[in-house]
């Protein structure tokens, strides 16, 4: 499983969806969550870069897991997701700061697959953020934590990756369209 996580970690960094260790990836495996470790470089993932924590409750292994594990766990508890990606996509972060509760994509893929992308609040690694993200993802395939980054889910990791890239694409198109209109 770490190889699959590594594959998408590399793609995310190469695509500019996050940089260095800012972001995290997880996959649900039965009653466990295999998640990237805190501080790991997502384009240099090895077997030692991931840890499997309990799905239902925190344990000592959470100490070395990503600081956003609390959000991942809440998503898995509240939804049917089998994979989660959190990335610091720049245009998604910008749009989350320019809008209040959601953004409506202008591009056709965004309109087709997302309809709207919710913006949620809550500080990094908090229960509030975990609950708000999970609640949004009960309805949507992805959301943006205000000023922070995207959370996207999938039935497989590739799907969560596609959703992440689509959110960033929609945010980028919207940003430049709005900029042109306001000239």
């Amino acid at each position: 499983m770490w190889k699959e996580i590594g594959k998408f970690g590399k793609k995310l960094v190469e695509g500019g969806y996050l940089s260095s260790h800012f972001g995290n990836i997880s996959v649900r495996v039965g009653d466990g969550i295999t998640v990237t470790r805190s501080g790991c470089m997502l384009d240099e993932i090895t077997e030692a870069s991931v840890v499997t924590v309990d799905l239902h409750k925190p344990s000592s292994l959470d100490l070395i897991a990503s600081s956003e594990t609390i959000v991942h766990r809440e998503i898995y508890k509240k939804t049917s997701a089998l994979a989660v990606i959190h990335a610091h996509c720049p245009f998604a972060v910008i749009e989350s700061l320019l809008n209040d509760t959601s953004i409506e994509p202008y591009d056709s893929e965004g309109k087709f697959f997302f309809h709207e992308i919710p913006i949620v609040t809550g500080h990094i690694g908090t229960k509030e953020l975990a609950q708000n993200v999970a609640k949004a993802l009960e309805i949507h395939k992805g959301c943006i934590a205000k000023g922070h980054g995207t959370f996207a889910v999938g039935k497989i990791l590739e799907e969560a990756y596609v959703h992440t890239t689509m959110i960033e694409h929609s945010a980028k198109v919207k940003y430049f369209c709005d900029l042109s209109k306001n000239k």
């Binding site: 049917s80 087709f112 999938g154 039935k155 497989i156």
Partner: protein, 572 residues
């Protein structure tokens, strides 16, 4: 009107007809169609009821969007205890019958008891009558439909197979739309109920038209953008799968002893398009129009599954023979998948490559009419039956589609490709391509797709919508239809509830997890590793919150099924 609510109960023992309302809590929890059908069956049918006795019940059900402006919403569903598998069983059909039933004034009809003489049920715009069917008993589907469809009635009926209680018999709507699987035609026959005809002018309502307009527009954008829905199926119909499945080496061939058929092209969608003058046929409000007819003879071109079973799996490359077999099955009212699979089994055991003789044996009620499992068991060769829980495997070899393999094995109604519909992601790459040759991640995926399908079958929408729509679009359509918010997650959870209730029904009938498996032929050196399969099955149970195929009380409580699962307490 919010949820479906108009319930009609007909007792054929006493000819008592009662109009009732469905409980709002129940419809909210089970949506309609398959969900409501299974709930009513679970609540009303005592354990170990003989499926062909007066005590079994037959439920015709629609869903909250059936017959509305929602595209692909023309289906209805029939639920009962199957005489083939002994499980809870739902079987659905397209066409126009479901819409007409709602226009005639009813959403769900429960038929109890059995008549002494042949009868048919007529609903004429709310007016319900039980009528004498002596003059049509003994006639096949085409003739019966022709007699009863005068004056605009939509007809669901059985042929001679159902009358003769053949456990692979179907219920045919408007002649070619089959509630095919599980032998529910025999349940109808056991009640001496030849037909059910409906006609009406009542308006079918939805709760929020404005929102519905928006959600339909969003769904249609996705459906039009899906090449499978808007192009492949729309151009060639389901036979477009023949060459594809054969190329992928998952074509059932010679009773699943091979995976590739040399002459597949001669029975393919392309061959049919080149050699026949094709007329498209459609169900209510469907732009795909996947059904096909030979314009010259007004005879139906078989669907992919029928071609796979009577063609490659029976080592037959003569498309005309398959067209004839399909015609005979539809007219007698026999499931083409089970019949074709049973013919393949016959060919293996008898060593004669002939589909006509065994098919004649099936429709005339010979030993083969009991399905491949009972037939081969009768010969001491049940290893030659390619079935799960008694239901014959359809047209995809599980060795090359491992998610589908797990789905066949864990399906509550036996081998069925529609329970998780992995044909979409594993074969066609829709909505997302996943590796068909790996078990990795499949246990989690299968249970989600099974849950989604259970809710889709309760809405009810055509399975082909899943090539483009996700739980989000389905939840939106449902919400606008009933005027109550369903999130994507609630849509999936409702499906999980339905799936667990079906499992509880089967456990109450004393079924065990030992039946969550595949025929031995698919395991071993050239097939699936038994060890790996068992490990994935255990993982699947973990995702489901089941212990050896039995739901834990904790999981049942989370699904609001505690009462239904009470009988498990104290059971070892």
């Amino acid at each position: 009107m919010p949820h479906i609510e108009k319930l009609l109960e007909i007792d054929l023992d006493t000819e008592k007809i009662e109009v009732k309302k469905l409980d709002k809590k129940m419809t909210s929890k089970y949506i309609g169609g398959r969900g409501i059908g299974v709930k009513l069956l679970f609540d009303r049918l005592p354990p170990n009821t003989d499926p062909l006795s007066n005590d079994n019940i037959l439920i015709f059900a629609t869903g909250p969007i059936t017959g509305t402006v929602v595209p692909l919403s023309g289906r209805h569903i029939v639920v009962s205890k199957s005489p083939l598998t002994g499980t809870a069983f739902d079987s659905s059909a397209g066409g126009f019958f479901g819409r007409e039933l709602r226009m005639a004034g009813f959403d769900v009809v429960i038929i109890k008891g059995a008549s002494e003489k042949p009868v048919y049920i007529e609903i004429d715009d709310g007016d319900v009558n039980i009528k004498d069917a002596s003059n049509i008993w003994g006639k096949n589907v085409k003739e019966s439909t022709s007699i009863l469809s005068n004056n605009g009635f939509k007809v669901s009926c059985i042929g001679k197979a159902g009358e003769n209680l053949i456990p692979i018999s179907s219920i045919m709507s408007e002649y070619t739309h089959a509630c095919g699987r599980g032998g529910l035609g025999a349940v109808m026959g056991s009640k001496k109920l030849k037909a059910f005809i409906v006609r009406g002018k009542k308006e079918i309502q939805i709760s929020d038209s404005e929102k519905m307009k928006k959600y339909i527009s969003e769904s249609m954008r996705l459906l039009n953008a899906s090449p499978v829905a808007s192009k492949g199926l729309a151009y060639y119909g389901t036979p477009s799968l023949v060459n594809l499945i054969n190329t992928m080496r998952i074509m059932p061939t010679d009773n699943f002893r091979k995976v590739h058929f040399e002459n597949a092209y001669k029975v393919s969608g392309e061959y049919i398009a080149e050699n026949y003058d094709i007329k498209k046929k459609t169900c209510y409000n469907c732009f795909i129009a996947c059904k096909r007819e030979d314009r010259k003879r007004n005879i139906e071109i078989p669907e992919y599954e029928t071609i796979a079973m009577f063609g490659p799996n029976s080592m037959n490359d003569d498309i005309e023979k398959i067209i004839q077999a399909n015609y005979i099955c539809n007219d007698y009212g026999v499931d083409t998948i089970s019949a074709g699979n049973a013919v393949s089994c016959y060919i293996e055991l008898e060593g004669k490559k002939d589909i006509e003789k065994p098919l004649k044996e099936i429709v005339e009620g010979g030993p083969l009419s009991q399905g491949s499992f009972r037939y081969s068991k009768g010969k001491g060769k049940e290893d030659s039956s390619m079935s799960v829980k008694g239901l014959e495997i359809p047209g995809y070899d599980p060795r090359g589609v491992l998610g589908l393999a797990l789905s066949y094995a864990t399906s509550n109604r036996g081998a069925c490709h529609l329970r998780a519909y992995m044909v979409g992601p594993e074969i066609l790459g829709k909505p997302k391509l996943i590796d068909r040759l790996s078990f990795s991640g499949k246990s989690g995926l299968i249970q989600i797709f099974q849950n989604i399908s259970a809710s889709v079958h309760s809405l009810i929408m055509c399975q082909f919508s899943s090539f483009a729509l996700s739980e989000e679009e389905y939840a939106n359509l449902l919400s606008a239809g009933v005027g109550e918010l369903y999130t994507s997650e609630e849509f999936i959870k409702t499906g999980e509830r339905i799936y667990n209730l079906e499992r509880l029904f089967n456990l109450r009938e004393s079924m065990t997890y030992s039946e969550d498996t595949l025929p031995g032929r698919f395991f071993g050196e050239d097939g699936i590793s038994k060890e790996e399969f068992n490990s994935v099955l255990d993982e699947y149970y973990t995702y489901r919150g089941w212990n050896k195929g039995v739901p834990t009380m904790e999981r049942l409580e989370s699904l609001d099924l505690k009462n239904e699962g009470k009988f498990l307490c104290g059971k070892k």
